[in-house]
Subunit: 428 residues, 2 copies
Amino acid sequence: MSGTLRLGIAGLGTVGVGVVKIIRREAALLTARTGTEITISAVSARTRDKDRGVSLSGYDWEDDPVRLATRDDVDVFVELMGGSDGPAKAATEAALKAGKDVVTANKAMLAVHGQALAELAEAQGRVIRYEAAVAGGIPVIKSLVEGLAGNEITRVMGVMNGTCNYILTRMEEAGLPYETVFEEANQLGYLEADPELDVGGIDAGHKLAILAAAAFGTRVNFDAIELEGIGRLTIEDIRAAGDMGYRIKLLGVARMTGRGLEQRMSPCLVPMTSPLGQLRGGTNMVVLEGKAVEQIVLRGPGAGEGPTASAVMADVCDIARGIRLPVFGQPATTLADAVPARSVTPAAYYLRMTLQDKPGALAKVAAVLGEAGVSINRMRQYDHEGDGAPVLIVTHRTSRMALDEALAAMDRTGVVDGTPVAIRIEEV
Amino acid sequence: MSGTLRLGIAGLGTVGVGVVKIIRREAALLTARTGTEITISAVSARTRDKDRGVSLSGYDWEDDPVRLATRDDVDVFVELMGGSDGPAKAATEAALKAGKDVVTANKAMLAVHGQALAELAEAQGRVIRYEAAVAGGIPVIKSLVEGLAGNEITRVMGVMNGTCNYILTRMEEAGLPYETVFEEANQLGYLEADPELDVGGIDAGHKLAILAAAAFGTRVNFDAIELEGIGRLTIEDIRAAGDMGYRIKLLGVARMTGRGLEQRMSPCLVPMTSPLGQLRGGTNMVVLEGKAVEQIVLRGPGAGEGPTASAVMADVCDIARGIRLPVFGQPATTLADAVPARSVTPAAYYLRMTLQDKPGALAKVAAVLGEAGVSINRMRQYDHEGDGAPVLIVTHRTSRMALDEALAAMDRTGVVDGTPVAIRIEEV
């Protein structure tokens, strides 16, 4: 045994408690595997007096995470507080400056400040590890940065917000509208305090930004993500997609193109028979594609005490074993500043619109699509009661630019009620 | 850049050529990621004069892999020859003794000599890496040994022979008998020179033995695997399983039980809707289960030039990055010598038998099952022409011991023609 690795843990919510439990329960196993005794010197959280279901009596208490992060008896600062700024960022910076390594589950902090933090860490000769920040228990960062190191990565995709996938699955299975299922999820405590983080795609977007940086050797750029949530999806969309053999997922896609880095987090149709299409409920899935390896699919729990703590501990064990890599796989100062490219990769699209009950309405829509160079693969007009005829169109592969042109022209025809829904069909 | 890592590659079949191609094509990327220039000093293969579709003119040629492995200008010996003994083992040992690290895709060698080679490597302060030996391009060894290091592993499972999965998929989809599809696979060049390696489960068994050692911290013990191939499966079995919502897979399962280490590589029924049940064709899948992480599923190509070379290069990059771990995750001298346990975990079973057309035959079968404590969940007797009535039974969960007792008693009733087929239904 080569020594002891001493942790300071800030944040004792679900994940923090999970980490403490693993360290207590698996002490012998961790030592056998890492050759190191992994101990906890001190912990910190907002509230001290609270029964967390695990004894903390052996550890010092710090009210201030910055003090915790800089203690002499802490080798690794484990940041599990969350939030892109505030105490999490302050303590992380303090830890790095004090020569500590950092393990964090904080996707927001890395998506927003990843580049600066990576540069600081590497200037200090320290590592930041963040397996738990993306797709919970799935070892996706390790698989990508190390397991596929011989590959030029061509595309990464993921369903990385379990709450959204739960909502979409439940809508489909129970035939319930979005609002009802959203309320259910809220009652069940599945939603973040600010639900927009989940259903607006922000949380999943944070994860995609981190994944893209590690995949393409680019500076993390959350602001460049085309972000669209699931709030506009209706049960009719889900049913219509199902009729045509697709499921709708909040899917993150990052792809390096000749015109720059495409990053999207938005609802997409995927074939029902594909691994992504088969994914039900709160489970996460990440798809990694590389020139040599073709396609790897990773599936597992995206949240929860045990799975997220498992990812944190993988990082701790790596540090204990002397595994030290640049934060995003190559030195932060060498990461490229990729040009953001908006949906340049052509795709087929699913369109749903309501046509006014006028003769020739459908012909006008078909005409504007044709004029924009968007050809129609399938079209269905549904039987309807009351005003307006629901129409579904699946296009052939087209550029997003041509599609947007067609949608604008459609608006000018005056036969379409409201704004059509357009959902990309991602080729998986 | 901290220097150069010089490879000696023995074996220039599909995988070796793939490795050479990646090193030539991705030189800049590999250097950016590892901070090291990865070069090839020399290569070796059985035949020198052969067009392999890639230029080897920049590399020295060695006829003798042992000479290659011990060259002064080789830092890492890349063993891609295959075979458990012979030149592969001799050259690997020579490399380790000469102070070289080893990267290998050789599952047979590690399944048979893994413990001795690991002890040799660690005594020499060297590493052996073998990501390519298990499930091709899937980074499963890394996910298990590093990504799940905080977990007590409870079960590992895998479909790890693409040829068998291709045969079973094709039988189902085309409704063809085993012999016909076997011949097709042979024509397509999917089968090893000795087909028993594939269809007898030996190749997949080698992989399971390695996976189990890395999962449970035990000495690799291929001889302890309960091995059963796919040769007895009929199209009727596949159809009957399908009727009941299952698919048949050649599934490897390793599990640590209170009575020892269970290792099985055998046909199993899995629910059609599970990720394993959804797996079609030549793709591989590994399921890793741990106390904290619950369940991780990894899916990807199990063979082929690019995917397997990707795994080899992951190992090479790890060495270039200074990632050094014991061969099976903890020092070889600390690996436990697990007691082999034969199917102690209870399961439901699928039984297929042919009953003689005698009154009371079915009652006799039901009676012997009951006497052995095996209770029946579902039973079907099929309409038939000619002699003997095909009967399918799905039992409730039972021990394999009770089932074997029932099968022996069934034989003694004299109403069953031939030997019943018994296939485990693995709970996934």
